[in-house]
């Protein structure tokens, strides 16, 4: 046990039907629930994140009896009902999943965030020196623009000259013909 009391009362253990019995045990006598968390599914950061959210509502104790983590949520004050414990377990598991997903997103976007941060810090250093400009490599190919997004409006909508036209239309030299 995570907390051992000298004169321990016999545990009144039951299971909540909605949850797998091998993952969750409810001890009504101690007003607590114990969950087993698979570290292959939920990282330690996710477990910490979920546990941190619940420390204002209940006593949270983490343990690692074997390869998996064990989380014990104990009610702080009043005696909880079975519905209370069911709700607590549901909220904790949802929060655990949410934290795991956020940790995954954070991990995936780490390279992008570091790149943007480096560029921002590089820009804050001030304009490049003449030596740095001399060493600048202009040989890189220009970026591809298949949709013409970087093209100006005038270039994009310029009238194509017909081969029959001898000279381009000049607005100032046009003479209006009256009927």
């Amino acid at each position: 046990m995570l907390i051992s009391v000298r004169e321990a009362e016999p545990a009144l253990t039951t299971n909540l039907q909605e949850f797998p019995s091998d993952l969750l045990a409810v001890d009504l006598g101690a007003s607590s629930v114990t969950l087993r968390v698979d570290p292959a599914t939920y990282s330690l950061d996710a477990l910490y994140g979920a546990a941190y959210i619940f420390i204002d509502r209940c006593f949270v104790l983490l343990d690692k009896p074997d390869a998996s983590y064990r989380v014990t949520l104990a009610w702080k004050k009043r005696e909880p009902t079975e519905d209370d414990l069911r709700g607590l377990v549901g909220e904790f598991t949802n929060e655990l999943l949410s934290c795991a997903w956020r940790a995954k997103i954070s991990q995936d976007s780490r390279a992008l965030i570091e790149s943007v941060t480096a560029q921002a810090l590089g820009g804050a250093l001030g304009p490049p020196t003449l030596d740095e400009l001399e060493k600048f490599d202009f040989s890189d190919e220009t970026f591809e623009d298949p949709l013409g997004i970087a093209m100006s409006w005038e270039d994009k909508h310029r009238k194509k000259a017909h081969p029959d036209d001898a000279s381009p239309v000049d607005g100032d030299n046009v003479t209006e013909k009256k009927p």
Binding site: D45, Y48, G49, Y52, L61, L62, D63, K64, K76
Partner: protein, 71 residues
């Protein structure tokens, strides 16, 4: 007496030290560390009070551990 056992892989020692210092006025706390766990023996006038101290101390140590990892 109540014994609080916190796994070394999950709780930092400095966090537990701070937690023990915070809750020392509320009971008699004695650290007796083991190879796999940090162990705190808690003695208070009643079992319920020992339970509350153990739970709150565990929460405090967990909170400091999590904050320490985020830095």
């Amino acid at each position: 007496m109540t014994e609080l056992r916190l796994h070394r892989d999950l709780y930092s020692s400095t966090a537990l030290d701070e937690a023990v210092a915070i809750y020392a006025p509320h009971g008699t706390l004695h650290r007796k560390d083991q190879p796999s766990h940090w162990v705190v023996e808690i003695t208070a006038p009643s079992a319920e009070r020992e339970r509350r101290i153990a739970g709150a101390l565990g929460n405090y140590a967990l909170g400091l551990t999590v904050k320490g990892r985020r830095r």
